[in-house]
């Protein structure tokens, strides 16, 4: 076999129809507000944890919708449930309950595996 010194690179394109979201469906049942996010970024801008970490609730919700929970869930550990995001959310999302629900639903998923 010839050593070419390079090889195929995996694609990073989101193939969105391949993403199966049973857990996100369960999340919507527990906290329907998860569907209400308009990605305005108010939560991220005001996040106490976000000042020191990569925590960003807008990004967390989006990543879960894109099936990227693995890289996302660790961010949630930085959340201190201070509730500032709930104060600023223009869509009135119950962010506290949403964050706790994400924890529950995805932890359950984790346990199933």
């Amino acid at each position: 076999m010839i050593d070419f010194g390079y090889g195929l690179t995996p694609s990073s394109t989101l193939k969105i129809e391949d993403v199966r979201l049973p857990a996100f469906g369960e999340l919507l049942r527990r906290e329907p507000d998860a569907a209400k996010c308009i990605a305005c970024g108010s939560c991220a801008a005001s996040c106490s944890a976000g000042v020191f970490t990569e925590m960003n609730l807008r990004r967390v919700i989006l990543s879960l919708q894109r099936g990227r929970e693995k890289e996302t869930l660790p961010l949630l550990r930085h959340c201190m449930l201070c509730g500032k995001c709930q104060l600023v959310c223009p869509r009135g999302v119950n962010t506290r309950h949403l964050i706790l629900s994400i924890g529950k639903v995805y932890q359950l998923e984790e346990d199933k595996r």
Binding site: Y6, G7, L8
Partner: protein, 356 residues
């Protein structure tokens, strides 16, 4: 697929291509990898069609590959191009045809830039005068060599000995056409058929009896990417983009690929070999690859030239299955010979992709 929809778009991108008197400049990559294709281009235009196509030994690279690899500044490439135009002007021509798509894109861009920024053109004229004491006129018409073959596709069809038809089944061969990115993506109106559904190669395929295959990644780049290929560390990019195209065209079972860019036929050919050697996957029938051709090679086959005069022995993917389908005769024993039948040893066989 609604064919009439494409026809409507094609009708909106008609390019004016004069019939005769061309100043010809060659392509660095094609001279190195497909010299017989350029020979065939001149053979068809001069000897078959009786056209006046002039070439001067003094012309050089346009510098395009160096420019797109950031090895020379923009002013340098513009001044080299100005020198090429000066050679055309001195030879008394005003129609300029180039063999290379990178050149074609650059010439188009440079002339557009000069139109928009006249002070830039003045600067380049000054540079050229200082460096060479030459002066130039910009070409009245600029064409890529494939534009000319497209223009004369029906004349070629009239003289055809073979057609892009499966001799056994009588059905048209399924042909993937791959257009060089710099042909029309920057200036859609400068290409035959525009940027989204270019007709320059599709027209040849139809005229010569084949059927064009439109697959999802048809418009995607072959992945040359200049530095992304030239530097070994980057070649994963190049390979991966070609891989993406083949994965996309595979279900359509194409019989062959026709290209109009210098690098693309080389990459589409060689990356099939690398993919096969690295992953074991081949895209043609029975362990072969999908043969890839330049438009002159296809024209040469249609006109009945010997495949080994066309340089098809220098492809890594075997062309024989396609020759058999078309009914083109060839002598396997002559494939790897030099001039006057001089015997050369044959190349080694790859492990995973079938060759002849």
């Amino acid at each position: 697929m609604i064919y009439q929809g494409k026809q409507k778009i094609w009708s909106e991108y008609q390019k004016e291509i004069p019939t005769d008197h061309w100043f010809y400049v060659r392509s660095c990559i094609r001279q190195t990898f497909f010299p017989a294709s350029e020979k065939m281009f001149l053979e068809i235009l001069r000897n078959r069609l009786g056209k006046d196509v002039y070439e001067t030994p003094s012309h050089t690279t346009c510098g395009g590959i160096a420019y797109h690899s950031e090895a020379i500044p923009q002013e340098t490439v513009m001044t080299i191009i100005a020198r090429q135009f000066a050679l055309m002007t001195e030879a008394g021509y005003e129609n300029y045809v180039c063999s290379c798509i990178t050149s074609f894109g650059l010439y188009t861009e440079v002339m557009e830039d000069w139109r928009e920024f006249p002070e830039l053109e003045a600067k380049i004229r000054e540079n050229l005068w200082k460096a060479t004491k030459r002066e130039f006129k910009t070409p009245k018409y600029l064409a890529h060599a494939s534009d000319l073959v497209y223009k004369f596709r029906n004349e070629i069809a009239e003289q055809a000995k073979f057609r892009l038809v499966n001799r056994e089944t009588g059905r048209p061969l399924r042909v993937v056409e791959h257009i060089g990115c710099h042909y029309a993506k920057m200036f859609p109106s400068k290409g035959v058929g525009g940027a989204e559904y270019p007709y320059v190669l599709a027209g040849m395929v139809e005229s010569w009896g084949g059927e064009v295959v439109d697959y999802p990644e048809r418009r995607h780049c072959c992945g040359f990417g200049f530095r992304q290929y030239l530097v070994k560390a980057n070649r994963g990019y190049s390979l991966s983009n070609t891989h993406k195209k083949f994965e996309s065209m595979e279900p359509f079972k194409p019989d062959m690929i026709i290209t109009n860019c210098p690098g693309c036929p080389y990459f589409l050919d060689r990356w099939q070999y690398v993919i096969a050697e690295q992953t074991g996957k081949t895209y043609g029938e029975n362990g072969y690859g999908i043969p890839v051709f330049t438009y002159e090679e296809v024209a040469g086959l249609v006109l009945g030239y010997d495949p080994w005069d066309l340089g098809l022995q220098t492809h890594q993917v075997a062309v024989e299955p396609l020759l058999d389908k078309m009914g083109v005769p060839y002598k396997p024993e002559d494939k790897y010979k030099g001039l006057n039948g001089k015997r050369l040893q044959r190349p080694e066989f790859p492990m995973n992709i079938k060759c002849c």
